[in-house]
């Protein structure tokens, strides 16, 4: 079964919720945590783990055989990302950073002058780690610096995570509601939307709940940093969207301390009220999984 942690806004605590749930649920479930926030993967940092088992993520990169090229410009016309620039003399030039590897130019060329090359845009990792008494498998996707096409890396890391047999695949997504987030959560039994009591938290919560509705995924809402602002509008919005607020993590210095130590708070300070709230949430998720 797949359960996703998302939330729309950046910095709301998606990864904090994901690693604490992973630490608790792995005590009696075989658990894979998939960090699909490929522009900024940090679950391994929050878990004090090293990335291991690196594999490249390659996409197609077109090269032009200028001896075959008839300067028809077909490749430039079909290119959706502006990666194929037709010069005044009619010859195409490839701008690699803009290319998404979609192969349209390859299929459009009437004289087979486009040669298939490849380019590494990111990596996936697989780390086996021990958390207190339990073990988890962490799969991480990481986009190379300077690259902008995230979906191939998200999908490669997702595939790698799903290839590991488990009772629960827990997916941690990036911020936003882009196609990368939709691709990450697709097929989930449940989406846990982490938000915070701020106007921006509210705005982005609306977007992620709409996305969950569109994809037909049941959504639960976790309010992180509870206590820093009013939640009335959040309560109203969640009701309108047919979702439910299931947990409120208090705003606390202890959460920050565990973050800095790279130990989930449920292990670092199991006696804290924050850890208690995570245990309650984990029990609810366990109820869905079993």
């Amino acid at each position: 079964m797949m359960v996703s942690v998302s939330g729309g806004k950046g910095g709301t605590g998606k990864s904090t919720v994901a690693v604490n749930l992973a630490a608790l649920l792995s005590r009696d479930l075989r658990l894979v945590l998939a960090d699909l926030d490929v522009e900024n993967p940090n679950d391994h940092i929050l878990l004090g783990a090293e990335l291991a088992g690196e594999r490249p993520v390659n996409i197609m990169l077109p090269f032009v055989n200028y001896q075959k090229c008839i300067k028809c410009g077909a490749c430039g016309r079909v290119c959706d990302t502006g990666a194929m620039l037709i010069s005044p003399d009619g010859l195409p030039y490839v701008i690699p950073r803009l290319c998404s590897g979609c192969r349209s130019c390859y299929f459009a060329c009437p004289v087979d002058a486009i040669v298939e090359g490849k380019r590494t845009i990111g990596y996936t990792y697989l780390s086996e780690l021990e958390l207190g008494e339990s073990k988890i498998t962490l799969v991480t996707g990481s986009l190379r610096e300077g690259e902008e096409h995230t979906p191939p890396v998200v999908l490669a890391a997702r595939r790698r995570a799903l290839s590991v047999e488990a009772d629960l695949h827990l997916v941690d997504t990036s911020a936003g509601t882009s196609n990368s987030v939709a691709a990450a959560v697709d097929g989930s039994r449940l989406l846990i939307a982490v938000t915070e009591p701020t106007p921006l938290g509210l705005h982005d919560l609306d977007l992620i709940l709409e996305m969950a509705q569109t994809l037909g995924i049941e959504a639960w809402v976790v309010i992180n940093r509870a206590g820093i602002g009013p939640e009335d509008d959040h309560v109203r919005l969640v009701r309108e969207r047919g979702a439910e607020i299931v947990a409120r993590i208090p705003y606390s210095r202890r959460v920050v301390e565990s973050y800095i130590r790279g130990v989930p708070i449920v292990l670092h300070r199991p006696d804290s009220p924050e850890a208690e709230e995570f245990r309650r949430l984990a029990e609810m998720v366990r109820g869905v999984v079993s």
Partner: protein, 115 residues
Amino acid sequence: MGTVKVGLAVEDDSGLDSRVSSRFGRAPYLAIVELEDGEIGGVRVVENPGASARSGAGIKAVQRLLEEGVRVAVAGAFGPNAMTALEELGIETVELAGVSVEEALQRIRTKLQGQ
């Protein structure tokens, strides 16, 4: 000095009165001006395909200017992709914004006389 074509990224479709845009790739329109021996021969305003592009806006704007045979590009600022392409293609860039097309051409006249 003959005929030189200048492409200006502009905010509106008002001929020589169009305002030069602060951005190149995402400007709504491109004004194509023909200069004959330094005198304005004609102006056409066309839609900038970069304005509605999901990505690679700068390159799409460059491509449109290339189709027009432009030798000089004018905008408030050029993005890194557009700048690289324009430099590679030997198209001169002028950074200037907030004035009309006509004013912009007057300001860069000396530069254009070197063409």
